[in-house]
């Protein structure tokens, strides 16, 4: 039903339901994907608020810009690679290549893990230069933003590991296809989110 029709329809008028056995759905996609999309909107709100807060706090006079560690570029590359492998895994799952899907899916997750390890190394480097979380507002935000992002990666890895276990069981690929696809969407989102955070951090 078109939006306009929906808005202007008079619900008290009688119309028999269109035939079909399915439920009324607003979108023709699996519920899991709707829920994931909603969740991503929620996460976007969280990071938008953090960003707004970041810029407001920046104007309060005691801001000391941070020199971002060069290792962040390598980590970014790792996350891009991870995202690409997820996409390849998803493509492979669409064409019924179970073995290849599993390999790519596993590799993608490993790259994501190395991204998180890379972030921890960045924190250690930063702490070694004397910039702790309470040193100044810029470093506090650095740890906060990267930490929150890493927490979301870890959450994703939890789902990833559950799916991976199912790959090593004797599940049919068609039962796993949706999980692979949702993981891919989530990883693309986290990549975009990371690039955004990285841009904010390096430009201020």
């Amino acid at each position: 039903m078109s939006l306009y029709k929906n808005v202007t329809s008079k619900p008290w008028e009688y119309s028999s339901p269109t035939l079909g056995s399915g439920p009324e759905s607003a979108f023709d996609t699996p519920s899991e994907r709707i829920a994931l999309t909603l969740f991503l909107v929620v996460v976007s709100v969280i990071f938008s608020l953090l960003t707004v807060t970041y810029y407001l706090r920046m104007d309060l006079g005691d801001w000391v810009p941070l020199t971002d560690p060069g290792l962040l570029w390598l980590n970014t590359a790792l996350l891009i690679a991870s995202s690409v492998l997820f996409q390849l895994a998803r493509n492979a799952s669409q064409t019924d290549r179970r073995q290849q899907t599993r390999t790519l899916f596993l590799a993608a997750g490993v790259l994501a893990i190395s991204f998180v390890i890379g972030q921890i190394v960045v924190w250690q480097q930063l702490a070694a230069t004397g910039l702790g979380v309470a040193s100044n507002p810029a470093s506090a935000f650095f740890y906060l933003l990267t930490g929150m992002h890493a927490a979301h990666i870890l959450g994703g890895l939890w789902v990833w590991s559950k799916t991976l276990l199912r790959f090593f069981g004797d599940n049919e690929l068609q039962d796993l296809r949706l999980s692979v696809s949702l993981c891919t969407t989530y990883w693309h989102f986290l990549l975009v989110l990371w690039v955004f955070i990285f841009a904010v951090l390096t430009n201020t």
């Binding site: 607003a26 709707i34 969740f39 807060t53 506090a140």
Partner: protein, 592 residues
Amino acid sequence: MAYVPIADQDHELHDPHSFVTKYIWSQDHKVIAIQYGGTAILVGLVALVLSALMRLQLGFPDTFSLIDPSAYYQAVTMHGMIMVVYLLTALFLGGFGNYLIPLMCGTRDMVFPFLNMLSFWVYLLSVLILMSSFFVTGGPTGAGWTLYPPQTITPGTPGHDTGILLMLISLGVFIIAFTMGGLNYVTTILQARARGLTMMRLPLSVWGILVATVLGLFAFPALLVSAIMMTFDLTLGTSFFMPAIMAAGEQMDYNGGSPILFQHLFWFFGHPEVYIVALPAFGLVSDVLSTHARKNIFGYRMMVWAIISIGGLSFIVWAHHMYVSGMNPYFGFFFATTTLIIAVPTAMKVYNWVLTLWEGDIRLNTPMLFAIGFVFTFVHGGLTGLFLGNVVIDLPLSDTYFVVAHFHMVMGVSPVLVLFASLYHWFPKVTGRMMNETLGKLHFWCTFLGTYAIYLPMHYLGFLGVPRRYYAMGSTDFIPESAQALNANITIAAIFVGVVQILFFINVFWSLRNGKPAGNNPWGANSLEWQTPDTPPKHGNWGPELPVVHRWAYDYSVPGYPQDFIPQNVAGDFGVSEDHDHDVAKEEQSGA
């Protein structure tokens, strides 16, 4: 959603048999709803006791010295936070949302039953963390439910170390629980409605819950962000919200942060939170009014759009809580305007509730009495909101008893009256038995008149300028002795209202055993939850066949139809078409 044909749903239909899978680790939305509701009511009783302690202190400062100043501020804080978040939000969305969404939408359960169960257990965890703060050194936080820094985490505030940390953790856990539940509710409503049940045919209860849930999903992140940042300030020594300040003559180790920044984040959550509580109440009360007036809800489409526009507007009015906070005073112009704009859709809802009664066939049973009581208190509370929203009037009135009276009227008493209306209305569906009408009516009269006796005079103390959040008024020149007498009367009314709630619990437990059997549809209601083959509905709700919907939920007293209601799943056009105007309807009625 890939639709699962009914024949293939056997694995979902089977009844769990053991006690544990049926009542404890249940994934049935109805059991989860009762778990949510029961927990919320229990923790709400804690908050009720706290308010009694506060009122005794305020009304009789010399007679009952039950609590000292720090305990008073702790009671203020915990009462507010529990009532707003852990009782009302959880009960409306986790309780009523869980129970009614699948039944009103004609589905067997939420789309993610396991996530739904997890949501409850995580919510319970958040409640336990919050309650544990009563037992730690220093006790719970006494910073006020708004948790404004720097005060929240500086000495001079009760529970400024452990209590506040537990509060922040508990809020974080609650938000996780809410998000799990919320994703479920929205997805279920969007994707799994029964065949024929278009969005514009949904009962307003579902609309209210849907929009409130969406608000929650967008608003709680602001609370989460501010809680996380405050936890950093508290435990790691960052200065997000903490400027350079003194504590007991020593300079604290903070610099440069902004307390106002926290307030913006907090109210970006806090104002929508008001509507997270109010919108489900708006929806539920619409259905109660319509059913018992035997008349369609007046202006359904206006009601839906009012809910949506109130929800949308609630995100651009937050700083009306901050007119005198020291923020840029020019914001006042914008926020006063947006705030008063909200009055228009809200007033339309009130008009439509009253117009639903117009030319109805009103059955004055207990749920209806509570619903009518709600309209009265909501009108009162809504109108006083026009005072506080209008920025200059907020200058003398902010932080006085007027504010306390206003928000208790609008988001305390009013939603609670709807809660009771809904509990009396849906109890027969949940348990299969009617509640006792005599006890119910007695409960209504005591609650309704009692709360008005609390809050009407309280507004006048606010006009006088009596400040809120004062442990004792102490000596001032402008507060006459009579104000203390009035305060004592308010306390008596408050204690009375608190005590008579026992009537409700007696009624519940009495009716569970001795109530009149209700049958499937005791009120003659149209919406799907009343059309289940069993009452209480069995696991899976609908037996072998899912319902198919042919009409909206408000076909009451349709001219020419023998019954005064036509359930949503009854097929057939009974001659009500768009050119049936008012007079024609009347003629038909007199002809019949």
